[in-house]
């Protein structure tokens, strides 16, 4: 074997005064960083294998472990950064496409952090959400242009809607990309809090059919696990065209993750690769999307809203308009900071646009075309906290999807190694030894707590604005001001600068 240029990313430090040699770290590291030598009764670390997931640090009962960046410096070079150089070493060694996990980690501007929310002072009152009613219930689905009454009787039939107790849902993550326990956690949390989880394109595991009322079932290009019972099981159906982390390319669940349960759920043989083509091969043009939307509506006898999810790409506004006109009831837009279990690095870091701009553009475009009220707009792609949610809604979203935030709630430590299948937190793995590390009862509580906490915060901020129903924030861009943004950014976002 020739020399490998790989050097450790992390340095594992063990405080021997604190270490009690309990070997919890040894058992907990799926990457086999920690080793116990019986002969010398000592522990050693293989730094090269460390991915910085902090499992050992978190479980070490005496806090004897620290993980640091490996202090290996290249000569300073603003152009040839260590990560750029190391990427080349890896590719030179393997000839492969660089694969990574989670969302874009490059320092592109985060517009949420350049938007500020408003509050009431004197000219209208803020509301105290602890004692006064504060409504965050949200309905997703197609809305009529108007209601018709005759002699006081409502004539208009309202299309099927997804009812949410708060405008935050768990974004599509397939059973396969994440563990069954992770999906169960999210499903149970969604049920508890009154929102939805999204199956992703992994089908719906038998254990999860009981969560159908809280499920949005996805139909993606691979059509894994898609059959009539599946379509019937969910509250809504989402057609996945694209994903923020990897616009324009398909997915690939490697055969080693297709164990018995994944195989059953996806309805493919155990151990077989699950390939999701880049496009839907029945959609090569926008009118074909209409065909798929209505084939799903036909299959479910028009009882379920159909959503279409796209990645935020350059002409997202026009595409969204086309989707609305193709009959979608809900449009989901996933920004380029959205996460994933596995994506080619270059695609993740270089394709697509930020969700803030995409959302503003789509909302404005649909309003200019006077069709914004007909469809619901859901955005995803790194909503990190309740303020991001507020800002998204003020920019024009009906609701948001969270995924990375939800996984963090379950214990994800953002090591970005989901694609290895060795998630030490039991989330992005199918290894039964690792999967059991996520107790779905605990996971559900943590995920539900996150949503409850955000809901409280949203109510606080809404109250501060003198608003007691979330719909009065939707598209209410006057509640936003930009800081540190160019005029062009402000124009696209449709907000004024702070101080204006």
């Amino acid at each position: 074997m020739t020399l490998s240029m790989n050097t450790p990313e992390f340095l594992v430090e063990r405080n021997l005064d604190r270490c009690i040699k309990c070997q919890v770290c040894v058992g907990q590291c799926a990457n086999e960083v920690h080793k116990y030598d019986k002969e010398t009764d000592s522990l050693s670390c293989e730094d090269l294998a460390c991915v910085g997931c902090h499992r050992c640090v978190t479980l070490c009962p005496t806090h004897a472990l620290t993980i640091k960046k490996f202090p290996l410096e290249f000569r300073t070079n603003a152009n040839w950064t260590p990560s750029t150089i190391n990427a080349i070493y890896k590719q030179a060694e393997s000839g492969g496409i660089l694969l990574t996990g989670m969302g874009n980690d490059k320092p592109y501007p985060i517009y949420w952090d350049h938007l500020l929310l408003n509050a009431s002072q004197v000219t209208n009152p803020s509301i105290d959400p602890l004692r006064e009613p504060m409504e965050v219930k949200t309905y997703l689905g197609r809305k009529p242009d108007k209601l018709d009454f005759s002699d006081g009787e409502l004539l208009t039939e309202i299309a099927p809607q997804v009812e949410l107790e708060l405008p935050i849902m768990f974004s599509a993550m397939s059973f396969g990309s994440i563990s069954l326990n992770a999906v169960k956690s999210l499903a149970a949390a969604a049920k508890e809090v009154g929102t939805m989880f999204n199956t992703g394109e992994g089908g719906l595991h038998q254990d999860l059919y009981s969560y159908g009322d809280n499920a949005i079932v996805q139909v993606a290009s691979g059509r894994f696990g898609v059959h009539s019972q599946y379509l019937e099981a969910g509250t809504a159906i989402e057609i996945k065209i694209g994903q923020g982390a990897k616009p324009g390319i398909g997915g690939h669940l490697p055969g080693e993750k297709v164990g018995r349960e994944v195989s059953e759920t996806r309805m493919i043989p155990e151990g077989s690769d699950a390939l999701s083509p880049a496009p839907h091969h029945d959609i090569y043009s926008i009118e074909d999307l209409r065909q798929l939307i209505y084939s799903l509506k036909e299959a479910t006898r028009y009882k379920k809203p159909v959503a279409v999810k796209i990645a935020a790409v350059h002409n997202v506004a026009a595409i969204a308009s086309g989707i609305a006109r193709a009959g979608a009831d809900i449009i989901t837009i996933d920004g380029f900071r959205g996460g994933t279990g596995a994506t080619p690095l270059r695609t993740r870091d270089n394709v697509g646009i930020p969700i803030e701009l995409a959302l503003a553009a789509v909302d404005s475009r649909l309003r200019n075309e006077s069709i914004r009220h007909q469809v619901s707009l859901v955005v995803a792609g790194s909503l990190r906290n309740s303020a991001d949610v507020m800002k998204a809604i003020a920019l024009g979203a009906d609701a948001v999807y969270i995924a990375s935030s939800a996984l963090l709630a379950l214990g994800c430590h953002m090591c970005q190694k989901c694609y290895t299948g060795k998630c030490n937190w039991g989330i992005a793995t199918q290894d039964p030894n690792l999967v059991k590390r996520l107790n779905p009862e605990i996971g559900a509580q943590r995920a539900a707590n996150l949503l409850r906490a955000w809901k409280h915060e949203i109510k606080e901020m809404l109250g501060g604005m003198g608003i007691n129903a979330i719909e009065s924030l939707r598209g209410n861009r006057l509640m936003l001001r930009g800081v540190g943004l160019s005029d062009r950014d402000l124009e696209i976002l449709g907000v004024k600068a702070a101080g204006e």
Binding site: S94, G96, I97, L99, H227, S228, P269, H281, A299, P344
Partner: protein, 244 residues
């Protein structure tokens, strides 16, 4: 036996009629003058039998879950899309992406089929989908194929049994082509192997059905030499990626 005249009826209404009849317990329906109405047979369960006369629209028998549909005519694009079970017999030709992501049931086409037929077919346990094509098939036949059975008989002659990139990305299932296919037409993930007894038994069974539906003699068809195509392995892209 119920008869519907579909002349000038919009698909939504036509399908609603079909569903109404099914709800009434009438499950044998002949639909005449079909022309372009989409989604006929969409997600219909076992026990329902539709006979169509004319040219049904796209996504015929999509998500079909056990029903039987007979078409006296040609079918368009997206036929048997994501079909789960049942039987579709087409007394004509069928369009592009027939049997896309099909996971169960059987489709018999008397004539040719379009591009990307059988793309991303998959199987699970005893749910093994199959498409039998009497004529020839277009390019990308069985692309991404992950399971199931594709059979092309080329009974109408012509030189192109299948188009280019046959079985590209294939990682499961099997294709039987009646005759020879030049290797340049095959996707790089596919290899040609000899038929074994099990293949012959399987092939005979499909072709016997085919011959019954369309008035051929199975023996005659089976006389010719078949090419069997299977993927090299179930992990075609295992080495494509490197860990960042």
């Amino acid at each position: 036996m119920i008869e519907i005249n579909a002349q000038g009826i919009y698909y939504k209404e036509l399908n609603q009629q079909i569903h109404n009849y099914i709800a009434e317990g009438k499950k044998d329906i002949i639909i005449k003058n079909v022309n372009g109405q989409r989604y006929i047979g969409d997600a219909l369960p076992q026990g329902v039998k539709l006979e169509l006369e004319g040219t049904p629209g796209n996504d015929l028998a999509a998500y079909m879950d056990g029903a039987e549909v007979i078409v006296k005519g040609n079918t368009q694009e997206g036929t048997a899309n994501t079909m789960s079970g049942g039987k579709l017999v087409i007394h004509g030709r069928s369009g592009d992406a027939t049997g896309y992501a099909m996971r169960g049931g059987k489709v018999f086409v008397k004539g040719d089929v379009g591009y990307r037929v059988g793309i991303h077919m998959k199987e699970y346990k005893d749910m093994i989908p199959a498409i039998v094509v009497g004529g020839n098939a277009g390019s990308f036949f069985g692309e991404y194929m992950a399971g199931g059975v594709l059979i092309v008989l080329g009974l109408d002659g012509g030189t192109e049994l299948v188009g280019d990139y046959c079985g590209t990305g294939m990682h499961g299932g099997v294709m039987y082509l009646r005759g020879k296919v030049p290797s340049y037409k095959l996707g790089k993930e596919v290899k040609s192997v000899e038929l074994n007894d099990e293949d012959t038994r399987q092939l005979t069974s499909y072709i016997t059905n085919f011959a019954d539906y369309f008035g051929y003699k199975a023996d005659e068809i089976l006389k010719a030499k078949f090419t069997k195509l299977i993927p090299y392995n179930t992990r075609p892209y295992g080495n494509l990626y490197t860990h960042y």
